[in-house]
Symmetry: C2
Subunit: 342 residues, 2 copies
Amino acid sequence: MTLADDVLAGSRRALARLLTRIENEEAPSELAALYPHTGRAWIIGVTGAPGTGKSSLVNALATAYRAQGKTVGIIAVDPTSPFTGGAILGDRIRMSAHSGDPGVFIRSMATRGSLGGLSRTARDAARALDAAGFDIVLIETVGAGQSEVDIVRTAHTTLVVEAPGLGDDVQAIKAGILEIADVLVVNKADRPGAVNTVRVLRAMLELGHPAARTSVQHHGQTLTVDAPAGSDTDAATWIPPIVQTVATLAIDDDASGLPALIDAISAHRRHLETGGQRARIERLHLEQELHERLRAELMARLLRDLPRDTFDALIDDVQSRHIDPHTAVQTILSRTTGGAPR
Amino acid sequence: MTLADDVLAGSRRALARLLTRIENEEAPSELAALYPHTGRAWIIGVTGAPGTGKSSLVNALATAYRAQGKTVGIIAVDPTSPFTGGAILGDRIRMSAHSGDPGVFIRSMATRGSLGGLSRTARDAARALDAAGFDIVLIETVGAGQSEVDIVRTAHTTLVVEAPGLGDDVQAIKAGILEIADVLVVNKADRPGAVNTVRVLRAMLELGHPAARTSVQHHGQTLTVDAPAGSDTDAATWIPPIVQTVATLAIDDDASGLPALIDAISAHRRHLETGGQRARIERLHLEQELHERLRAELMARLLRDLPRDTFDALIDDVQSRHIDPHTAVQTILSRTTGGAPR
């Protein structure tokens, strides 16, 4: 039995070992063997600024999906430096909540180099959990620009988590984050200012999605759960619903908002699965992945070909301003296979 | 006279035209011609979350440097989507403050595609301003993960701007941001909570830089300007000082904190210029730049070689799970020059 076979057979120990190999980027053959078994899990990305309660929300989602009898794999990606220690602490809290439940598998991954490397690793880890048979795969990442964009390239449904207390300034909601959200979650909704946070998000959505304005008229001034927004309008347009949650409450407490969040995720899934949207999105993600892998592989080959002292001498010339960076690149490519005649 | 000659001769109109060409990535020959004239400006990166008052601070810094008789070029990079409109509004406010002063040149740049493209453009724009003779070049960017990392690769001194009201939670200070800061600025320091923001930053610095603890003991509980921190300790270690500012006050008002901020930037410059640190850092930045340019150029050449329908057919095979992504990449490389025998 290979490691991949053991993972397919359901061994959690094998899965843990495989994830370590994936983290070290040593698992191309295992990933190739598992790849035909992927495509069944629903992959949910969860991102948001530190302090929004993402980890608690992921925890509550896992509990809610377990209550439906679904198995859940969690990948917590921490692109921050080791000294904050957030990943490890959060992991322990999560672990204890689901300890002894074989239907939940949790793995946190910290930066081992570039952000790019981490997002590749997270995608491969999600595939491993998918192949291992988990129904739901949750990828949690700190809202930090590039890692948010990367999570979108892996997930089917992306949740962007906000919390009250970020100020009433429209600018305080992180710019650019709305575009990646399939569902907006205002967590810690029992705190003062939650209504205002919802209002600000709604206003920003209206700016970004003209159709959202119609939806607001349909719902009057309702600022609470707005899950049906996506299904309200043209089938081709998905308007991110805004769901208020208190992730620290029990999931069967109405005030937790968890059932509404699960419904919103299901609505998004139905939206993608009707009209072939899911296949189109998965294809786009694969295309982006191949581009990214090609770029990395081309560079690795070039650096193997290029003697270090040749590169160093060229950097000297650029630093002393004898040649400019553009010319230096052309010089390197003309000396290596990258510039081979075609 | 070429466009580059006109820029070197001091024409602001030519500079504006060149920056447009740079934005469109159409200026390799001009940049090559200007490159030997670069290396004189001090490049200062300014980053931080929306709402921290970065634009006002950049404005105040420009005023302060002008008062010293230095010329100032400003590049405002907005990696956010067009619909927020922040860049254009901020630009107008800045413009009016310095209108009629030929010693200040302001240009804002919005996303025209990838974040990577924008950071290349910002670096090239900084070089153009450097060659055009500006003493100080300020690059302002919204704190959004990757763009912060990129700004560090261009700037000599990076300011990270915080503001009170982000909550007293340590996690509320954006994770990972401390590592890129050469100077930490708590702007809006007249607002409630400024002392607490400084305390949280200080605590995080102590975690990241053990030497910072010594510095705190030297200064007792002083939570105000701490500019000498860098010079206090081992010459090889720079501990980011924390400077409190109120950028909306007149720069000669003691409470503005601007003189202290200018001093902190000067101290960092002296730190880099003693012991050859500046040359080492510039070399590292050039090395990163060449890598980045090589990656982009290799990919462009590969995509020129690879017929679109070949690529599409391969994506089909990956999507239907007949082959895995890793194998697909190897297949592509064996068919194109990227896989030419070496």
